[in-house]
Symmetry: C2
Subunit: 214 residues, 2 copies
């Protein structure tokens, strides 16, 4: 069962809640958590926490709070993180390399993380054949075939802006349904493909808006 | 003059519009752009483009569109990008190094970019004193003094999660008003400090939500 009509703003906060629950589960012997505490740790108002979670069912009891392990389990299920997802990364420059190392180390520490970069691609002949954290960099020629053979569902694009749309199109053709895009352009993809933009320049520019002289 | 009550969702789209206008200004001799075209290129509906821009004044004419250079100029002014902002980056690991190289090269190509990493900090004695793109890595001891001396307003945090809150607090104490946080924790800062989270794990987890078996 999926909840098709949930707004993106709600979905965006669910991983925040999960991060708080994961931290508490690792650090302390907490069994229950109130919407107040969860909200405070996630940087969200308690009312919004309750409203967001209510979309997916009744997870808590008034005056008692949420049972931590249960809520964590449910959030993972809702976010589709109870199954493993294979991820490809295209463009193994310095940013792509850093992201790969970070992801694979995190996955090794905790395979339940379930988001795993398993294939790397680049167009640079000097990079092809070399490895990052034991994953070999492959040429773009084999992109479609590898995505299909390995059952890759997600991709991270860290190629230059001029190549990003072409790469996205090839990923979509090969069956990728979710793309995290670091290239500074807006990707055009079919409606059934989800794109998240991680354009750091956009984030910095947005922050600049708030730099008001007092 | 500032527009204090504009929602964050609107502000978030302004850099997207600016990116489209910047691209067009560099590529072609376009003088006018309709909300239809701008929306299509930014991945936003034309009605929303018109609504977003109307918050800040009347930039276009019905049936004619927006004068590209004028709108671009106005968006830069609204986003506070008509003045230079100095940025510090804390945690010069592989991700921090990659972001620094990207930012400084971009700034060199186009100083009007106006967001410029001018100071780097790390706690690792082996890194201190070395340089990334001619910016020397300094010890954390001199963080507050450097931020004040150099008039740094923004910071990028790429330290491990366990250090991020302490670093954020020190930045805030030194006068930093905007933080782009890559550490996988929610930072707690005063209301007058703006934080953008660039936790890539959160983005990947959010995308997983949309990976539905058809």
């Amino acid at each position: 069962m999926r909840w098709k009509k949930i707004s993106d703003a709600v979905v965006r906060r669910l991983p925040l809640y999960l991060r708080v629950l994961d931290d508490l589960a690792h650090k302390e012997k907490v069994k229950l958590i109130s919407s107040q505490e969860l909200g405070e740790l996630a940087g969200v108002s308690p009312a919004l926490v309750r409203k967001d979670l209510a979309w997916f069912g009744e997870f808590g009891k008034q005056g008692v709070g949420y049972e931590l392990e249960y809520l964590r389990h449910e959030l993972r299920r809702i976010l589709n993180l109870d199954v493993n997802h294979r991820v490809a990364l295209i463009g193994v420059g310095s940013l792509g390399g850093a992201l790969t190392r970070y992801n694979i180390r995190r996955y090794r520490e905790n395979p339940d993380f379930n988001l795993h970069i398993v294939a790397l691609f680049d167009s640079d002949a000097e990079l092809i054949g070399s490895e990052v954290e034991d994953v070999q960099i492959q040429p773009l020629d084999v992109l479609e075939q590898t995505v299909e053979d390995m059952g890759i569902e997600m991709a991270i694009i860290t190629v230059p802006a001029s190549d990003a749309q072409t790469v996205a199109q090839r990923l979509v053709n090969a069956g990728v349904k979710a793309i995290l895009n670091f290239a500074p352009i807006t990707l055009h993809v079919p409606d059934d493909v989800q794109v998240a933009s991680a354009d750091l320049t956009l984030e910095l520019q947005r922050l600049a808006y708030y730099l008001v002289e007092e």
